[in-house]
Symmetry: C2
Subunit: 166 residues, 2 copies
DNA sequence: TTCATCGGTCGCATGATGCGACTTGCGCGT
DNA sequence: ACGCGCAAGTCGCATCATGCGACCGATGAA
């Protein structure tokens, strides 16, 4: 998996016979997973993303373009006259949800927040919360990756989330 | 969560109210997750790790020490006279298993290997394979994080794994 | 005695990131 | 018409992490 465009990465993950290596080649860059999570949470525009992450504009631009290149994000124009764009997760991007959730749960366990989990996982079809086994606490279903979405939990301030999840 | 020792990271993940950010602060460095995975697979010594990853010695040293500092790895001396060491996962490290698995499955899905999955997840107590919901295909149990271990699957060559998993 | 191995350290070059200024296109208030 | 401000970038420079490759110290084998 060598990506020629943008001349990014090219980590020697390449010679690794390992799906984790291949995944990290795509989303292992600093900021990538956080960008994906924030976009999943509804922070779909450039300036809010930049502000929330404290990332520089140039790096954010680079990361967004790379993620679009990889098919994880898509760019949508929401305004013609002043050309303005939004970024959204593709299905491939949404399917990173479970990986993000596991990382989150690990963080919650070893580096807990005082106010409770800042982000929670919700079953898209019935709205129930998911446990660590991806089982919906409401309908009991074992939830597929693309039926999960992330939502602000008790540990999060509302102003971080100007928009509802896509 | 600011780590003073080793003067590593200090990413501005700090001001993030987010468990994913806190997790990535600890394991988000380049190489970290791959090192953890390889050690979980039984590559416990310096030289095999270095060779398998194609990482430089200095960076490997830095990463290993950081991961020990974080309580994810522990260093064990297995030889006195020429002082030689092995690295092993702590419980905290083993609990990253589910996150690694989700990343792996995502990679398998979008960047598949021709020979099948190179690493598979096994239920430590009964030896059954796990599916994507962390449910053991053999005993049907919904498996806890620290009851999972990783194993070489069909897509992996044997010589990558000189030792059996801990 | 010399060689090889393991587990490192060190110095230099390169590439990614952070910092902050500048830009372009447009709407808005006066 | 003028200037202000915002969104979404671009650009240049400084710093820091990483890659590359040489070297080292302890030991055991030939």
């Amino acid at each position: 998996m060598r990506v020629t465009i943008l001349a990014v990465l090219d980590r020697d993950y390449d010679n690794q016979v390992c799906s984790i290596a291949r995944s990290l080649e795509v989303v292992g860059e600093r900021w990538s997973l956080l960008i994906i999570r924030n976009i999943g949470l509804g922070l779909n525009r450039f300036e809010p993303l930049r502000e929330n992450l404290g990332i520089t504009r140039s790096v954010l631009t680079t990361r967004l373009n790379a993620l679009i290149e990889y098919g994880i994000l898509e760019k949508r124009q929401y305004s013609e006259k002043p050309p303005r764009y939004e970024y959204h997760l593709t299905e491939k991007g949404r399917n990173l949800g479970p990986a993000l959730l596991q990382l989150m749960w690990w963080g919650d366990r070893y580096y807990p927040e005082q106010n409770g989990a800042p982000t929670i996982a919700v079953h898209r079809t019935c709205g129930g919360k998911l446990d660590h086994h991806m089982i919906c606490q409401q309908c009991g279903e074992s939830v597929e990756a693309d039926r999960v979405y992330l939502k602000a939990g008790p540990g999060r301030k509302v102003e971080d989330l100007p928009k509802v999840p896509a």
